[in-house]
Structures are given as C-alpha cells and as structure tokens.
Amino acid sequence: MTRVFVFTNHKGGVGKSTSATNVALGITQVLRHAHASNCRVLLIDTDSQGHASLVTTGKKDYGADNSLYTVLMAERQNAPQTLMNCLVESLWDQELHVLPASPMLEGAERELMGIAGAPYRLADPLSKIVGQYAAVVIDTRPSFSLMTEMGLLAATDAIIPVEPRYLETVGLTSVIQKINDIREGWRHPNLRVSGLLVTKMDHRIRGHNHLLAELKAHPVLGKLLLGVIPVNEAVSYAHHNHQSLFQYDPRSSASKAYVQIVGTLVRYLTKVGV
C-alpha cells in the first residue's frame, strides 16, 4: 500500500506548502539515490491559493479543465482518468508529478456541499492510481474545510507542521482531535497522526527553546515529534526562484533538516513496501 502523507494545520503560515513540496521532492530524490524501482511521487495541492502548484510547476493559472477542481467535478466513473489527465510534471524533477490547485476550488466547496459522497471525491479516484506512485503528498489549506477533509480522507499519514509559539501549540490538540474525528467519524482507520513538524525554529529565541522542550517532554506529542526545521532565509529565496530548498541551497540548515525528515518518511515507506 502506498503511503499518502497529508500536511495539515488550520493555522496559516506554518510551512505546510514548503514542507509538502520539499518533502515530496526529497522522497523522489532519496528513492532515486537508493536506486528504487519506483521513485515517482505525486504532490496534490488542495489549497486554492495554489502556492505549492506555483513553486513546483512555475504556473498558477490552472482552471476548470486542468486542476484538482476538474477531478472533483468529474463524473465518478471518469474521475480517475480525469485525475491522470490533469497531472503535471514538476519543474523540479521529472518523477515528481503535481495535481495542481485552482482558485476555483473556493467555489468547489460550495458546489459540492450537499452532494452525496462529496468528501470522497479525491480519495476515490486517487485510490485507483495510487499504486503507480511510491508516495503521495497532499498539501491542505489553512482551515478545516471540506477540501481539507477530502485530503485527510485520501491520506494514510497526517503530519502537522507547527511553529514553536504558545498559541500554535495550544491549537495542536484540536488539530489532532480533528484528525481522530475523521478517522472515527468517517471510518477511515488507515489514517493516523504520523508526526509533528516544528517549523521556523529559532534557537536564539528563548520562548522557542522552551516550547520545544515542553513538546519533547509531553507524553504523547513528544513521541510524535518528527523533526525541527530551523528558520532560514533560504526558504523564502528558494520560493522566490521557484526552486526547491535542496536545489537552491543544499547546504542550508533547513535543507539538512528536511532531508533528515525525508529519510524518516522513506523509512515509513519500507514498512509497507513500495
């Protein structure tokens, strides 16, 4: 079974898109480096802002006929084929495929509201093609909307990026609770919280260190800690140049931190095989 990682948090600006895009690329490249028979990774952008689509494909003008919106609006039987038709090769790596977002996704939530089976409109077609990929990474929007629910229902592993600030960590339990609700309420037992990703960590700030120490000491959250990404200028410069962090500055502290996380996630893949 292919692992589907979803990066989710209802708080904006915590590094969901940065983490999703770089982790997706990282998995592809690590698998290729390990001479894997299949190193294809699919990145699905469910955020109508389309930041992940923009940086990985260099475009953001995706519309009604070439984006996730198209898949969600397709007839159920044609949805898998539509999904395949909408995939775009990333500028970063030919084995990284992207299902881009569209600003029309805003309206899609309203259009799909009340339609039976709407939350499964991503999970169902994805399940038909997921076997073609070594891993799938989903970037979600900063809210618990229908679109985020779709992402969670399609996923096997939820990863929660979080900034080391008081209010963000307070909201963590509600995010985990929401994921548990999806698992129980939608009878999706394969979904689990696989990790917390502390982003924008600044070791010079005492509050950050204090909160990280608290997190590590927490009996549940401490075990979920996947990694810590230091605050790094290279991240914003990489975005600006539509490049991955690994390509823009492989020696940066953020690159090194991300590649460690990628290594951990790739180890997860081996538990079920690729």
């Binding site: 995939l87 500028l91 093609i129 390509q247 790739v266 180890r267």
Partner: protein, 398 residues
C-alpha cells in the same frame, strides 16, 4: 536528465541513504516481475499484436485514437446488431446473445454465426465469467509510461481487456472498481518472443495472424524498429524481403516461438502477406487456413479478394481452391489477351465442375447468406437458369 541535479545535492542525499536508510534501500530495489491491479484506462492493447481481437477497421480507428475503448466496442456491437438483424436474430442488449439453454432451436443456430457475432458472443461469455468468478488469470503488461502519462501496453491478454470493458460498460450488474489485475513486466524484460509463444500456444490463431507474427519476429531480429502505433499490412510485408538465413543465430528461437514449425512451413506462412489487403482482412476474419490461401497468392492480386470471398461463401476445399486458382492462372498465361474471357464466365464454368459436391439445401443457405433476402435469391437463381438455358442452346449450335 534529472533537472537540478548537482554534486551538492548528491552529497546531501547520500547522507540520508547511507546513515538513515542503510539496509532498507534493498527493499526499494525490486525490479522483478510483479502483479498489480491497474486502472483499465491506463492499459492499452499492443497496436502491432498479430492476433486481432477487433475487426480491422475498428482496430485501426481505436489505435489511431479516433475512438475510445467504449466507442470501439459500441461500433462492434452495432456491426453485430446489423448482421444479426439480417439473420433474423435482432438483439438490444449484448447479454441476449448468450444462448438460452432451454431452447434447442437456438442452440442449433449458433453454428451459423458470422465471425463478428462469434467474436462478440465469445467476449460476452468471457465478460460474464469474469463478472461471476473474477479474473483468475492476469494480463501481462509492459510499463511504457512517459512523463506523467502512465501507460501499460498489453503483451498478452487483449481479449480479457476487451471483455472487461464490455463488462464495465455494456453488461448489467458490474460491481468492479474499473481495475484489472496485471503482471507487470519491466520494459527491459518485455519480449516479442514471449508474446509469439503465448499466441501460438493458444488455439484460434488464424493463418494471417501467424503470418503477421512471423513477419514481426523477422523484422525484430533484423533490427527494424517496431512502432508503437497501428500499422498497415505494408509494414508486415517488409518481412517478405527477409529470411531466416541472414540471421541464423535466431532461427531456432523464431521457429520455437512460432510453435515449433518447420522452416518450409514458416516460409509458406510468411508468403501469405503477399495477399491483397482486402483478402487478408477477409481471410483473417473468417480464419481461412494456410492450405487454401497458398494457392490464392499465385494468382493476380486483383483477384485475391474475390477468390477468398468465394472460399468463404462456398466453403471451398483446398483442392477446389487449387483448381480454381490454377485454372485462372492457366487462362491468364495461355490466352491471347485480345480473346481473354471475362473472369465471371471462368468462375461460373469452374463452379460447374464442383456442382456434385454441394446440395440444393446448401445452395439455398449460401444464397440467403449472400443476398440476405429470399426474393433477391430467387431472382438470382432465375437469372442463372436463363443464362444456363442460353448457354446450353449455344452449345448445341457449336
């Protein structure tokens, strides 16, 4: 070339694969043959597969992407509906083609099915088996994906592919999920010889399909590029210029893949590609044996289709075909071109020699099959009777 690859990235990745992954990297290096369930839309039949499942015209339209699999099957169903209506067996749903085991009269009529009716009936039977018992035997497919386009070319199992489409779109009570089990063969391990062995090991491979198969093997070992799109008969005819002698090292492999046939028979099979396009199509559709077709290639190409049609219509034996063709050839060779007799007159004269080998009942059935209407058939017989009376009168005067 992978975009953005630099030594620095390699160093970074090496730190992960070395330190973090260690021995687990072997888990990913699985390049063996494996079974996967693949979305039906990702699977495509091999356009140069010698064994045709669909009629030639639909086959070409499908592989030239003019029609989708569903549309191709709809065209086949419509074709069969017309043929069935002409034979007084109209049907609306393909499941109506299945024989009713309680009706003995219906079972008898099955022997008179046209090739298209038989094909559709076989596909429906296979589809029902898949629906009721599942697909036990997976297809063999080769991964021919390019970029984001995931595509798998069928090496063996095209009939199961079409039966699954038929089941999905034309047969009620389909409960599948649109996926099909496939044995996934890495492209490097794909083999035209394996495909040939699979083809020749199964029954029902026509002489024309065998000829295409022989051509494909010869072209492959001679280094010709096998296209990934539908090709006409001229592509296979290139093999007429080739032989086994120039690639002796492959002779055994080719003959073995062709079902262990002898060299002489291989040449005779290959020579069938000299048949005209229309004759090839009819011969393939009706599964005419090589023993009959070998005589046809000796006559002028413009007569091929007509002779093959007569083989089908009159169910001629090899001997009759030989006589028909040799007679035709002798006439062509010996007669002064100015005094050449019309081909139709020669054929009727030839038919008079085989009059004892047929019965009035058979003639009636053949006429009805040919004309599709009793009144027209009667008119044909009356015209024939008039012609024969006139001929007899002239014979008396000579």
């Amino acid at each position: 070339m992978v975009k953005g690859t630099t030594n620095r990235i390699d160093d970074l990745l090496a730190s992960v694969t070395g330190d973090l992954l260690g021995e687990v990297t072997q888990t990913f290096q699985n390049h063996t043959i494996r079974v996967e369930r693949i979305l039906l839309e990702m699977v495509r039949p091999d356009p140069v597969q010698p064994r045709r499942v669909l009629p030639e015209s639909i086959h070409l339209r499908f592989h030239n992407s003019h029609v989708t699999p569903t549309q191709a099957l709809r065209e086949l169903v419509q074709l069969v509906q017309i043929a069935a209506r002409q034979r007084g067996r109209p049907f609306n749903s393909v499941v109506e083609l299945l024989p009713n085991t309680d009706d003995e009269r219906e079972q008898e009529t099955n022997t008179l099915l046209s090739p298209e009716e038989q094909l559709l009936l076989d596909l429906v039977n296979l589809a029902i088996t898949i629906r009721d018992d599942g697909q036990v035997n997976p297809l063999t497919v080769v991964d021919v994906s390019q970029g984001v386009t995931r595509l798998f070319r069928i090496e063996t199992g095209e009939r199961r592919y079409w039966a699954t489409w038929l089941l999905r779109d034309f047969i009620p009570n389909y409960t599948g999920d649109g996926m099909i089990p496939c044995i996934l063969v890495p492209e490097k391990q794909s083999s035209i010889f394996r495909q040939a062995k699979e083809n020749t090991a199964r029954s029902g491979l026509t002489a024309v399909a065998l000829a295409r198969q022989a051509a494909l093997l010869l072209l492959t070992v001679h280094g010709y590029e096998i296209p990934a799109y539908a090709v006409g008969n001229d592509f296979y005819r290139q093999a007429l210029q080739l032989d086994l002698r120039s690639r002796r090292e492959y002779t055994d492999a080719i003959l073995s893949a062709m079902g262990g046939m002898k060299k002489g028979y291989f040449s005779e099979i290959k020579a069938l590609l000299r048949l005209a396009d229309e004759a090839l199509e009819i011969a393939d559709r009706h599964g005419i044996e090589e023993g009959k077709l070998r005589h046809v290639i000796a006559v002028a190409p413009e007569l091929h289709a007509e002779i093959v049609r007569q083989i089908v219509d009159f169910n001629l034996t090899s001997r009759q075909v030989k006589e028909l063709c040799e007679g035709d050839r002798m006439q062509t060779d010996e007669d002064d071109p100015l005094e050449r007799l019309p081909a139709a007159a020669l054929k009727i004269a030839k038919v008079t020699q085989s009059i004892s080998s047929t019965s009035a009942q058979d003639l009636v059935r053949a006429l009805l099959k040919q004309e599709g209407d009793a009144a027209i058939a009667r008119a044909r017989l009356q015209a024939m009777r008039k012609l024969l009376s006139e001929a007899e009168r002239l014979l008396g005067t000579e």
